[in-house]
Amino acid sequence: MDLLRFVLMRLGKGVIVLFAIAVLNFFLVRAAPGDPAQVMAGEAGAGDEVFLDQLRQQFGLDRPLYEQLWAYLSNYATLDLGFSYRQQQPVLDLILERLPATLLLTGAAFFISLVLGVVLGALAARRVGRWSDSAITTLALVFYATPLFWIALMSQIVFSLKLGWLPNVGFETVGGGYTGIDRALDIIQHLIMPALTLGLFFTAIYARMMRASMLEVAGADFVKTAYAKGLSPAVITRRHIARNAILPVVTLAGLQAGQLVGGAILTETVFAWPGIGRLMFEALAQRDYSVLLGVFFISSAMVVIFNLVTDIIYRIVDPRIGASA
């Protein structure tokens, strides 16, 4: 009951945020030099006055601003995000077509980084001061500091070109004609390198965070209580230290989850992964505004949704949250 009210409240706030973003989108296009009709005409590849007037009429650009805004918002409310002249397709279709690939990549990277980061961080904390701790911390620092695209390029050279273990680029083998299980395996092979590259960076962050958090919790009073009960160190670490130490990692993971949709431009570009990131990058290069703004809006919606999911998870793992909020 409490949870339901909380979710409804947060959804209400989310709608307000999305509304604000849609309004911002609307004015962004109008803040660009020239009027939207010229922009669209440019996209469509024609520029004579008659066509411009036609466009203005078709999109209601000759009407007052508030009417335009209203029309624009009603379109957005029905998920009509506009039309891309370059691609000759509705923006929403373009995005939906790319969304699964992106979610697969970022979701896998997210999962890898979270599991690996938490495990490595916990391990390092258990062996603090020993060589295995130093090794994990140093590696984490290296991966944190190295630019993502460089790791991507290097792994392509080593694992694909030199060793030939994994496919170099793309989502699946072009013209492979695989179906069912074979197709899934083929996609997974293509997924490994980009997902790991993207995941390593966050693995490093989670590992460092988990380690610091474990060490802090290890000094807590209730851990002393657990020792006084005569529990074994393994149980104390798992049940008392790790469970409490993971809370800040959950917070951070929630922030990262919000970027799942838009945050993989570099990786997608280097690995020629047909996702939203590349769609956005191409749209930027081609000044395809309606696509850009559509991606912008959908990413924002994802951030709102993932934040909500994180908050719900947080309320489940930490019983104190529900009481104070």
């Binding site: 002393k224 209580t225 020792y227 529990l231 074994s232 409490n244």
Partner: protein, 545 residues
């Protein structure tokens, strides 16, 4: 002689080389029989907690056992391997800690945390564990056990959590219960209940109790015998009555003399004058909840009125959550009150903007509870003290000169101005805090639990200092405390707060002789060791009236 449960003999604990002394505990010997309570008393750093942890086999890695033996029911504990020691912990030795608020895992239900005790030692079937947990909760006097097993620690009060800790420690009927300052963080009335509970369980189960405390009132209340520790060495042991009545060692005598008496000194005569601080109808309500949610309202301060004359000390006493600290902060508008008048001498400050208020800030200053957290660790003591005057427009070098004079006034060497807070002890830091407050030459000082974090001997010195400064500078003091002994000694008048309201306000002697309100009577009755420390204040030499 009863059977010895715990026998500590010639125990020495060595500290790492960098420490300020070589041994945390040196050549300590004592024993506890079944059903007996032994209190280890000492000031902070005396090694009393180390003693408890040594028995548990939970010493910090840097501290090593250098010599001696610890025998539990005849079995030598030193030299046992970790696995055997783990079997003893919880099963033969139960332990409860000082901080009930943080001693329970915040993410686990109470029932599961008690159940772990059985699980760790393979006792009982899982089904029987839950039943036993319910019985234990019932035994420590918590209401509705079926509900308690399902709640999380944050849903319980400090006293209730300490009861859970006790239930857990006694779950497997250990031979020895170690209680490390178990009531220090609790209110007096709760403290009295917990002490009674421990004592009842001890007599019912014949448990030996090793009770660590710094509070002689608690000692008088619960101990059969006392072990007094000073700098890691036992300086006196004996039956409680004997040691408290006729202490033989100088250190014990000094400690006992430093315990403030509940009998107030002769009242002082104060010249009638304009009140330095007058509060009228002050109120503050906290609302929880946000944007959409309908919040809960708590009246932290409810229509509070009082005035303090120059040179007078008004005590504000009450338990945690009574709103006394909120009143103190509202007086300085560190918390914004919802309503009421705050008059400093002739100036009413309640309606002022923060900018206007700044000019009057020097009239009222605050001394905080925690001498460790209330001084900026990155600034020299001189700059900490001079900061206020500089902000009020005093020239920097003049302010630094003043800071040195103030350090002299509070009993520190003027050279201390160039040093940093971490180089000082708790008592010295509190002196710095007082110097900082005095730097602006205030007419009113708000002391919020200013001596609560200090050892009794240091506490006595700081109280003397506050009194002496008050006599010299004629400042009015609002003295907020939960400790009725301290209040009895330093306050001219006392206001008792309960749930945001002042329920009784009277001259100190009057209040202690004839408490009118039920709540005041209850507070007074709960003060530990009231009979044992009925001595008057003749032991204090520099007491000014």
């Amino acid at each position: 002689m009863t059977e010895r449960v715990l026998h500590v003999e010639g125990l020495s604990l060595s500290l790492p080389n960098a420490a300020d002394r070589r041994f945390a505990l040196k050549d300590a010997s004592f024993q506890i029989g079944a059903g007996e309570t032994v209190c280890v008393v000492g000031e902070s750093g005396s090694g009393k907690s180390m003693t408890a942890h040594a028995v548990m086999g939970l010493l910090p890695p840097a501290v090593k056992v250098a010599a001696g033996s610890i025998r539990l029911a005849g079995r030598e504990l030193l030299g046992l391997d970790e696995r055997d020691m783990r079997r003893l912990r919880g099963c033969d030795i139960g332990m409860i800690f000082q901080e009930p608020m943080t001693s329970l895992n915040p993410l686990m239900r109470i029932g599961d945390q008690i159940g772990e005790m059985f699980e760790a030692h393979g006792a009982l079937h899982p089904a029987a564990r839950n039943k036993r947990a319910l019985e234990l909760i019932e035994e420590v006097g918590l209401p509705d056990p079926a509900h308690i097993v399902r709640v999380y620690p944050h849903q319980l009060s400090g006293g209730q959590r300490q009861r859970v800790m006790i239930a857990m420690a006694l779950a497997l009927e250990p031979k020895l219960l170690i209680a490390d300052e178990p009531t220090t963080a609790l209110d007096v009335t709760t403290q009295a209940q917990i002490l009674r509970l421990i004592d009842r369980l001890r007599s019912e189960h014949g448990t030996a109790v090793l009770f660590i405390t710094h509070d002689f009132g608690v000692v008088a209340e619960i101990a059969d015998r006392i072990v007094v520790l000073q700098n890691g060495e036992i300086c006196e042991t004996g039956k409680t009555g004997d040691v408290l009545r006729t202490p033989s060692h100088d250190y014990t005598k000094r400690l006992i003399a430093a315990v403030p008496s509940l009998t107030p000194p002769e009242p002082r005569r104060l010249a009638t004058a304009t009140p330095a601080l007058k509060i009228d109808g002050l109120s503050k309500t906290y609302r929880s909840g946000g944007f959409f949610a309908k919040g809960r309202e708590v009246a932290a301060v409810d229509n509070v009125s009082f005035e303090i004359l120059p040179g007078e000390t008004l005590g504000l006493v009450g338990e945690s959550g009574s709103g006394k600290s909120t009143v103190g902060r509202c007086c300085l508008r560190l918390i914004e009150p919802d309503g009421g008048m705050i008059r400093l001498e002739t100036v009413e400050i309640q309606g002022m903007t923060q900018r206007m208020l700044r000019a009057h800030r020097s009239r009222i200053q605050m001394i905080f509870q925690d001498p460790y957290a209330s001084l900026n660790p990155r600034r020299s003591v001189g700059r900490i003290i001079a900061e206020g005057p500089v902000a009020q427009g005093v020239d920097r070098s003049t302010a630094m000169l003043q800071a040195r004079e103030l350090l002299d006034l509070v009993g520190l060497a003027p050279a201390a101005a160039d040093r940093y807070p971490h180089e000082f002890s708790g008592g010295q830091r509190q002196r710095i805090g007082i110097a900082r407050a005095l730097a602006l030459n205030p007419k009113v000082l708000v002391a919020d639990e200013a001596v609560s974090a200090l050892d009794v001997s240091v506490q006595a010195q700081i109280l003397d200092l506050i009194r002496e400064i008050q006599n010299r500078l004629q400042v009015a003091v609002l003295f907020i405390t939960h400790d009725l002994r301290v209040a009895a000694q330093i306050c001219d008048r006392i206001a008792v707060m309960q749930r945001g309201r002042i329920v009784e306000m009277a001259a100190t002697a009057e209040l202690f002789a004839n408490p009118a309100h039920d709540y005041t009577q209850m507070l007074l009755a709960a003060v530990p060791g009231r009979e044992a420390f009925a001595h008057t204040h003749e032991t204090e030499t520099n007491h000014v009236t």
